[in-house]
């Protein structure tokens, strides 16, 4: 498991479009945006309109917080001071299981893995967990490998 993230060196500043998303993680809910008109889903929630139909009548879809690891990087040189104690850590893009749409579009999210590089591979199932931070208003989602899969792919140096 990677070392701890020093959340005191990170100030998350929710805005008008994202405050409800952060309220969601505080309640251990993983939300993505959803269009009330056509049902399209997307992430991150900074986008205030539906890219499929342009509707601004939008709400939230509560996902199960499970998905498949789509890609990842292993940060060796820390850039954000809060992560100096965490290197090397894996940031992953996760394709959510319950956001696939009829037109083939998918919703992917990103986050920091609770697993080390050795345990991570493209194609593995992952599930969200929640981590309290030094800011009482912010609960941070993290991801953990939750099972095995056939046809996984791992970066070989």
């Amino acid at each position: 498991m990677p070392g701890p993230i020093d959340y005191s060196k990170l100030r998350i500043l929710p805005d008008y479009d994202t405050v409800e998303w952060w309220a969601g993680t505080k309640q251990r809910k993983y939300l993505v945006r959803q269009c009330n008109a056509c049902g399209h889903k997307w992430f991150p929630p900074i986008f205030p309109a539906c890219a499929r139909c342009t509707s601004m009548d939008i709400g939230w879809f509560e996902t199960a917080g499970r998905g498949v690891l789509h890609s990842y990087v292993v940060v060796v040189q820390p850039i954000v001071g809060a992560f100096i104690g965490a290197v090397p850590y894996v940031v992953a893009i996760i394709e959510l299981d319950d956001c696939k749409e009829a037109d083939g579009s998918v919703t992917r999210v990103a986050g920091v893995m609770l697993n080390d590089e050795a345990e991570v591979a493209i194609g593995l199932p992952c599930a969200v967990e929640y981590e309290e931070t030094s800011d009482a208003k912010i609960v941070m989602p993290r991801w953990r490998v939750s099972g095995t899969a056939a046809n996984t792919w791992k970066f070989a140096e």
């Binding site: 991150p44 992560f83 940031v91 970066f155």
Partner: protein, 409 residues
């Protein structure tokens, strides 16, 4: 062909040395780059009546530079933008001159990219002490995922998985562009490297090593665009603008990480517009430039612009194919990887010099277009340099292109 193909030209280019640190303001560097571009073109400050620049809020503005140099501008607009903006501003210049808003236009970029504001938010001294995660940043800074290397690394990783190529393909780019830098007295890193040197260099963010990453530098670059009629009277043989595309966006209605393929560059449909406008095919292109912020961005730009098939770039670049005197020379100044990082404009500058047959290399007669073509003696000039395709990159979702030709084509 496009209605304005070959009607506008790049007539002047100039840059400051690639420094770290510059110990100068972005305004001071911009003035020097613009003066050098004017001198290169054989123009006076009073001959220029349009100026434009791009920045990410880290630079000076056209009104400041024009005031410093005593220029009276008919048009001065500065845009917010990063990589791929230079090629796009050339397109703007053509439209503005054609419409009569101005006659001759300077495009500049000035940045203390190492000693000032660094990509990804790092301070000149190192990691960000306290990071403010707002806007987009809520969904990347909070995950310790900020720098271009970290962000684009996701595409690089997925590319390796999807294509089956290895990081030795990345190394080919580092080696080829470094070889060109070894022929460029202005380049920051001039010692040739090998595939093994690349493979041994330290990790920055897997799958990217130190030698996959460009050189952050403090630098200013400038180019001057005017009409063909004016260009003929100036100092150098004109370089004609044949076609391009400008900050083309991805065809996916999803933010990058939900796109069908993370590594499919937005130029994937733009190239047909550019080549159609220019009236050429890929076979007509003598050399290319690629936005090599990282080695692998070159690979995926070659694919998106159809120089090779999708997923085939790893095989395509094998064995030094992108080197000078080989099939498709790329980034002849050494590019971002080895010359220094300018947010893209240095590629346009080098392409202009090559097309004029006046690469500023070790040949004593380079300024008059006399070259030995002896690489061991430090000659960087291509023998055949008639048409060039320059590919710009903002990120996977945004790309530009600029096809240029010299007098001979």
């Amino acid at each position: 062909m496009g209605a304005l193909t070959d009607k506008y030209c790049i007539v002047g280019v100039g840059e400051t040395p690639h420094m770290r640190p510059s110990n100068r303001t972005t305004l001071s560097m911009a003035c020097e780059a613009v003066r050098k571009a004017l001198a290169d073109a054989g123009l006076e400050a009073r001959d220029v009546d349009g100026m434009t620049s791009y920045s990410i809020g880290d630079s000076t503005t056209s009104p400041h530079v024009a005031t410093a140099l005593g220029m009276r501008l008919n048009y001065a607009v500065d845009i917010f933008g990063g990589g791929s903006s230079g090629e796009a501003l050339v397109a703007n210049a053509i439209g503005l001159i054609e419409a009569g808003y101005c006659k001759t236009m300077v495009i500049f970029r000035s940045m203390n990219g190492r000693s000032g504001r660094r990509m990804g938010g790092q301070t000149p001294g190192g990691p960000i002490p306290v990071a403010l995660a707002e806007g987009d940043g809520q969904f990347n800074i909070g995950w310790g995922w900020t720098t271009p290397a970290q962000r684009f690394g996701m595409s690089a990783m997925r590319y390796l998985r999807d294509t089956g190529c290895t990081t030795r393909a990345f190394a080919e780019i580092a080696v080829a562009h470094r070889y060109h830098a070894s022929l460029n007295p202005k380049a920051r890193h001039r010692s040739p490297i090998t595939i093994e040197d690349h493979q041994r260099s330290r990790w920055i963010v897997k799958p990217l090593r130190l030698l996959d990453c460009c050189q952050e530098t403090d630098v200013s670059v400038a180019i001057i665009v005017t009409s063909r009629e004016r260009a003929y009277d100036l100092r150098h043989p004109p370089v004609f603008i044949m076609g391009g595309y400008a900050r083309t966006l991805t065809d996916s209605p999803q933010w990058n990480y939900s796109r069908e393929e993370l590594h499919y560059v937005a130029g994937n449909y733009g190239w047909k517009r550019a080549f159609g406008m220019a009236g050429i095919t890929h076979k007509d292109v003598d050399f290319v430039s690629c936005y090599d912020a990282f080695t692998f961005t070159t690979l995926i730009q070659l694919e998106a612009n159809a120089f090779c098939g999708k997923g085939e770039a790893g095989e395509f670049v094998k064995g030094g194919r992108l080197r000078i005197d080989r099939e498709l020379p790329s980034n002849l100044s050494g590019g971002h990887l080895s010359e220094g990082y300018t947010h893209g404009v240095q590629m346009v500058i080098e392409n202009v010099r090559q097309l004029r047959h006046r690469a500023d290399d070790a040949c004593p007669g380079w300024a008059e277009g006399r070259h030995s073509y002896d690489r061991a003696a430090g000659c960087r000039q291509l023998k055949q340099a008639d048409i060039c395709c320059g590919m710009g990159w903002g990120w996977e979702n945004m790309a530009s292109c600029l096809i240029l030709r010299g007098m001979a084509a």
